[in-house]
C-alpha cells in the first residue's frame, strides 16, 4: 500500500467511524440513561436516508431537505416515546426487544408502502461538490471532510452538553439514582422523552448526511444496527467516550480490512474475511474486558 492509499483509507476510516459514532451514541445514550435496548435504532438511519432522498428531491435543495428531515425525525421521536417507549422503562430487556423489533417491521413495511423497495442515490450538494487537492496526485472529496467536521462538532456539543449544562446534570443524576432525581422535583419522564427523540434524530441525521456517499436502500438500517451494536458493546454500554473510541477503531479496522491483502498459507485472509474483522475485535475486547472499554462493571 502506498502512502497516498494509506492516507485516503485513514481518512475514510475516520469518517466512517465518526458517522458510526453518531448512530451508536444515540443507541448507547438510550440504553445507558433509560435502560432501554432499542433495536429499531437502525431503522431511523434508514428512515433518515429515505427522508433525505424524498425531501431533497422534492424541494430540490440539500440544506432545506436536511433541516426538514431533522424536524420530522424529532417529532417522530417524541411521538414514538409517548406511544411506546415510555412503557418500556420498567420492563425487562426481552420485552423491550420485542416491542422495538415490532417497530422495525412496521417501519420496513411503511417504507415499502411510501417509498418502494428501489435503490436510490442522493446527489452531493453543489456547495460541497468537488475535491481538495492535497498533493500533486492526491485529492480528497470535500463532502467527506464536511461530514467528518459535522460529526466532530456534534460529538463536542454532546460532551459539553452532558458535562456542563443543567440538562446534562439532570441526565447524569437520573442515571445515578432515578428515584432521588424525581424526589428533587425533576420530571424525568420529560427528560427521557427528549433524550429518546434526540438519540433517534442523531441516527436519522446520520442516514441523511451519509445518503450522498452511499446508496439509499431498504436493508441499510439492519446493516448499520449490527455495526452500531458492535460499537456500543466494545465501548461499554452507556459510555459516550467508549462509543467514540470504539466507533473510530471499528471504522478504521473495517476500512483497512477491505483493502489490506494478507495471505496466510496461500489463503487470502483479507478482504474475503474483512467483514469479520470488527467482530474479531469485539470478541477480543470482550475477552479482556467483559464490560467493554468504558463500561461499568455490573
Amino acid at each position: 500500500m502506498d502512502a497516498a492509499t494509506f492516507f485516503i483509507q485513514t481518512m475514510n476510516g475516520i469518517q466512517y467511524g465518526l458517522l458510526l459514532f453518531l448512530v451508536a451514541s444515540g443507541l448507547t445514550l438510550i440504553f445507558g440513561i433509560m435502560g432501554v435496548i432499542n433495536i429499531a435504532h437502525g431503522s431511523f438511519y434508514m428512515i433518515g436516508a429515505y427522508l433525505a432522498w424524498s425531501l431533497m428531491g422534492w424541494v430540490g435543495n440539500f440544506w432545506i431537505g436536511l433541516v426538514a428531515g431533522v424536524m420530522v425525525a424529532l417529532v417522530l421521536g417524541l411521538l414514538l416515546e409517548w406511544l411506546f417507549i415510555r412503557f418500556l422503562y420498567d420492563r425487562d430487556h426481552l420485552q423491550q426487544v420485542l416491542v422495538t423489533y415490532g417497530l422495525i417491521l412496521i417501519f420496513s413495511e411503511l417504507r415499502s408502502m411510501i417509498w418502494g423497495d428501489d435503490v436510490h442515490s442522493v446527489p452531493i450538494p453543489e456547495l460541497l461538490n468537488g475535491s481538495i487537492q492535497i498533493t500533486e496526485n492526491l485529492a480528497y472529496p470535500i463532502y467527506r471532510l464536511w461530514l467528518s467536521g459535522v460529526c466532530i462538532v456534534i460529538a463536542v456539543l454532546m460532551f459539553l452538553g452532558i458535562q456542563h449544562t443543567r440538562l446534562g446534570m439532570m441526565i447524569r443524576a437520573g442515571e445515578s439514582d432515578r428515584e432521588m432525581t424525581k424526589a428533587l422535583g425533576i420530571n424525568i419522564g420529560l427528560i427521557y422523552r427528549f433524550i429518546f427523540a434526540l438519540g433517534i434524530t442523531l441516527a436519522a441525521f446520520s442516514g441523511m448526511i451519509s445518503a450522498p456517499i452511499s446508496s439509499v436502500f431498504p436493508g441499510m438500517g439492519s446493516q448499520v444496527l449490527i455495526v452500531s451494536f458492535v460499537v456500543v458493546v466494545i465501548g461499554g454500554l452507556g459510555s459516550i467516550k467508549g462509543a467514540m473510541i470504539a466507533a473510530l477503531s471499528v471504522g478504521l479496522i473495517d476500512t483497512f480490512g477491505k483493502v489490506i491483502h494478507l495471505d496466510i498459507f496461500g489463503i487470502n485472509i483479507f478482504p474475503e474475511m474483512s467483514g469479520m474483522s470488527i467482530f474479531a475485535l469485539m470478541a477480543l475486547i470482550l475477552t479482556l474486558r467483559p464490560q467493554g472499554l468504558f463500561g461499568r462493571e455490573h
Binding site: 447524569r172 439514582d177 432521588m180 424525581k182 424526589a183 428533587l184 422535583g185
Partner: protein, 237 residues
C-alpha cells in the same frame, strides 16, 4: 378539615402481594417536627415512600394542604414542597458536591427562597471545602450533610429524613441534630426517622410509633417516656 400540612388517613400499601402498611393515620401540622419510630422492618421507610409517591398506596388518602395528592407523580409532590433525605442518602455519585446542590436549587411552593446555595454552604462549612469532590468521595457524615443541604435548597415546607443519623459517628450525629434544630427554627415541618430515642424526644413535637405497618402511638414525646413497658416492646429500649 384541619389546618394540617399533611394528612394521611387509613393508608394501605403493598409490595406485590405482601401487605406492609395497614391503615396508617398521620397528621403533620405546619412547623411541626414529628418523630417516626419503630423497630426495623415495621414499615417506616415504606410509609415515607408512599408519601413521596415512590410507592403507590393501595387505598386510603394522602392530603397536602387539604388537596388529594395520592395519585400525583413524585416530581410534582417535590414541587409542592416535600423534600426527601432517604435512607442511604441518595447522593448522585457521578455528580460533584456543587452539582448535587445546584441541581436541587429552586424556589419553594409559594416562591419562598429562604435557602440559597450560599446559605446552605454557611450552614455546612464542611461541604464548602469539598465542592469539587465527586459524590462518592465523601464520608458518611458529609454525605448526609449534602443530602440535607440539597433537600433544603428545594425550599420545602416538609422535610422527610429517613434514618437521619444511621451509621454516623456520635460527634457527626450531634452536628446533624443541631442542623435539624436549625431547620425546625426556620419553620419547616419535618418527619424524622431515627434510632436515637432521646435525641428525637428532645427535638420533636410529637412521637409516632409504628408496629407491623400500623401506628400504635401518636402523642407528645413526654407521654411516651412515661410508658417504659411499651417502650421496651415497641422500640426495644
Amino acid at each position: 378539615m384541619t389546618d394540617a400540612l399533611m394528612h394521611v388517613a387509613s393508608l394501605h400499601a403493598h409490595y406485590g402481594l405482601s401487605h406492609v402498611i395497614h391503615g396508617v393515620n398521620l397528621e403533620i401540622k405546619p412547623g411541626e417536627t414529628v418523630a417516626l419510630m419503630g423497630r426495623n422492618g415495621m414499615g417506616k421507610t415504606t410509609l415515607i415512600k408512599c408519601l413521596m409517591g415512590l410507592l403507590p398506596a393501595s387505598s386510603g388518602a394522602i392530603r397536602l394542604r387539604g388537596q388529594d395528592i395520592k395519585s400525583l407523580a413524585t416530581h410534582s409532590l417535590a414541587r409542592r414542597g416535600i423534600a426527601y433525605v432517604p435512607e442511604g442518602r441518595g447522593i448522585f455519585q457521578n455528580l460533584s458536591v456543587k452539582e448535587n446542590l445546584l441541581l436541587a436549587a429552586r424556589a419553594g411552593f409559594e416562591g419562598r427562597m429562604e435557602w440559597t446555595y450560599d446559605r446552605v454552604l454557611d450552614v455546612f462549612p464542611r461541604l464548602k471545602e469539598r465542592l469539587a469532590h465527586g459524590g462518592q468521595q465523601l464520608s458518611g457524615g458529609e454525605q448526609q450533610m449534602l443530602s440535607i443541604g440539597r433537600a433544603l435548597l428545594t425550599n420545602p415546607d416538609l422535610l422527610i429524613l429517613d434514618e437521619a443519623t444511621e451509621g454516623l459517628a456520635p460527634l457527626i450525629a450531634r452536628d446533624i441534630w443541631s442542623i435539624i434544630g436549625i431547620v425546625k427554627k426556620s419553620g419547616i415541618s419535618s418527619l424524622i426517622v431515627d434510632k436515637n430515642f432521646s435525641a428525637l424526644a428532645k427535638i420533636s413535637n410529637r412521637s409516632v410509633v409504628m408496629v407491623k405497618g400500623a401506628v400504635v402511638f401518636d402523642d407528645v414525646p413526654t407521654k411516651l417516656i412515661e410508658q417504659p413497658k411499651e417502650l421496651k416492646t415497641w422500640l426495644g429500649i
